[in-house]
């Protein structure tokens, strides 16, 4: 069976400029989630003398990378790079959460010389399941784009 790509009249891909603008807007929630939230959390903890063992520099770089990858993914949605970028974003999020889970204990003193330690690695590992599942979605999209390029475009970008 030979595959015939859909007629371009059956879909309407937004212009590169429009996608770029929206991709930049996509950066905002990404940076809030992956950079600002961990940064503010850690600096607030540091104010109370609580150290988490995370490298702030790593968190900023890894968070920015994830946010930028997420934006690129949106920009590349009409093309074949969308699937691999989806896999990259999800795999990056899994690795990011695994890194956070590795040293996920907060300790502080109580009383004269007691200590209280809270370990939340289990919670982060649980949340790593979500991007783990999304990798599957990226793999399916990659296979779809390799075997039947453009077939999904009428559904992702229906004509206006």
């Amino acid at each position: 069976v030979t595959y015939t790509p859909p007629d371009p009249s059956t879909y309407s891909i937004p212009s590169a400029r429009r996608r770029a603008t929206i991709a930049v807007l996509y950066l905002i929630p990404g940076i809030l989630l992956f950079v600002v939230l961990p940064y503010v959390g850690l600096t607030q903890l540091a104010k109370y003398g609580l150290s988490s063992g995370y490298s702030l520099g790593f968190l900023v770089i890894a968070g920015l990378s994830l946010a930028v990858l997420g934006s690129l993914r949106y920009y590349a949605r009409p093309g074949r790079a969308y699937g691999p970028l989806s896999i990259a974003v999800s795999a990056g999020a899994v690795l990011y959460l695994l890194y956070l889970a590795r040293s996920s204990t907060i300790s502080f003193g109580i009383g004269d010389s007691g200590t209280f330690s809270l370990s939340y690695g289990g919670m982060l590992l649980l949340f790593a399941i979500v991007p783990g599942i999304r990798i599957g979605s990226g793999v399916l999209t990659t296979i779809e784009d390799l075997t039947r390029p453009g077939e999904r475009l009428p559904f992702d970008f229906p004509p206006r």
Partner: protein
């Protein structure tokens, strides 16, 4: 136009991931809320007791762990370490079983520690000295697979020595014939939580390698009571003029036996 199968599958997987993330958010939120309701140590208080066994002194602390939340606490576990004064040698360690506390119930977590008696026991030097023993207690609590809390509390265990302030005063006393013979007056206070019911054998060590064995003391000393008894003894004739400087001995009872630490004589 029907959607392509791979495209549809990809969408379903993506939707499944979103549903899982919502379920996880609800689960984590519920776990945190449920955990915030926990009140360790409440509900009729907690009990600390001790019991004399053939293996040593068994200390038990029962800590009540009230879980008014709506999720079970998967694992509550206590552990403890007791050191000699000044964080010296390790006296004993203790642990509780891993207990699951169902929602709306109170779990009793028993922490057991055994302070061994007998030869080689690290507690022998403390048989004649009261002490505050530095102790660390850890409470480990796991909530679902979400997070765990470890609380470490340093404290002290007050150790009451069974032969506290052990002392032997040497003197001479006239016998039936009016001859002066050596005499020893033994005194101590039983500050332990248990009675002493057995036999105490003491040996004096002196100059020139001299030793003299005192007659056995048969003890029946209740807890928190003093004891004083005088005996006469007969050192070897070659040690008639020896200077007695140290004392050691052993206690034997049906329940427990132990050597005593070497004590200097006044």
């Amino acid at each position: 136009v029907p959607k392509p199968p791979l495209y549809r599958a990809s969408r379903y997987v993506s939707i499944a991931a979103t549903v899982v993330s919502l379920i996880l958010l609800l689960y984590v939120g519920a776990t945190i809320y449920s955990a915030s309701q926990i009140r360790p140590g409440e509900s009729k208080g907690s009990n600390i007791g001790d019991r004399l066994t053939s293996a040593g002194l068994e200390l038990t602390a029962s800590i009540n762990f009230s879980n008014p939340g709506f999720l079970p606490i998967n694992d509550v576990h206590l552990a403890s370490v007791v050191y000699a004064p000044g964080h010296g040698s390790l006296i004993t360690v203790g642990a509780s079983p891993h207990i699951r506390v169902e929602p709306g119930t109170t779990g009793v977590i028993p922490l057991t520690m055994l302070i061994p008696f007998g030869p080689g026991s690290p507690v022998i030097p403390l048989l004649t000295h009261d002490a505050e023993l530095p102790t660390s207690v850890w409470a480990n609590v796991s909530f679902g697979s979400v997070f765990s809390v470890t609380v470490q509390i340093p404290t002290n265990i007050s150790w009451g020595a069974p032969f506290s302030h052990l002392n032997v005063s040497l003197s001479t006393t006239p016998d039936a014939n009016g001859t002066l013979v050596p005499a020893a007056q033994l005194s101590f206070v039983n500050n332990a939580s248990f009675a002493l019911d057995g036999t105490l054998a003491l040996t004096l060590h002196g100059s020139g390698g001299c030793t003299a064995t005192l007659p056995d003391f048969v003890l029946n000393v209740p807890s928190k009571s003093g004891y004083s008894q005088s005996v006469t003894f007969s050192p070897p004739s070659s040690c008639a003029t020896a200077t007695w400087s140290t004392l050691d001995g052993s206690f034997t009872s049906p329940t427990w036996s132990s050597p005593l630490p070497t004590e200097n004589l006044p």
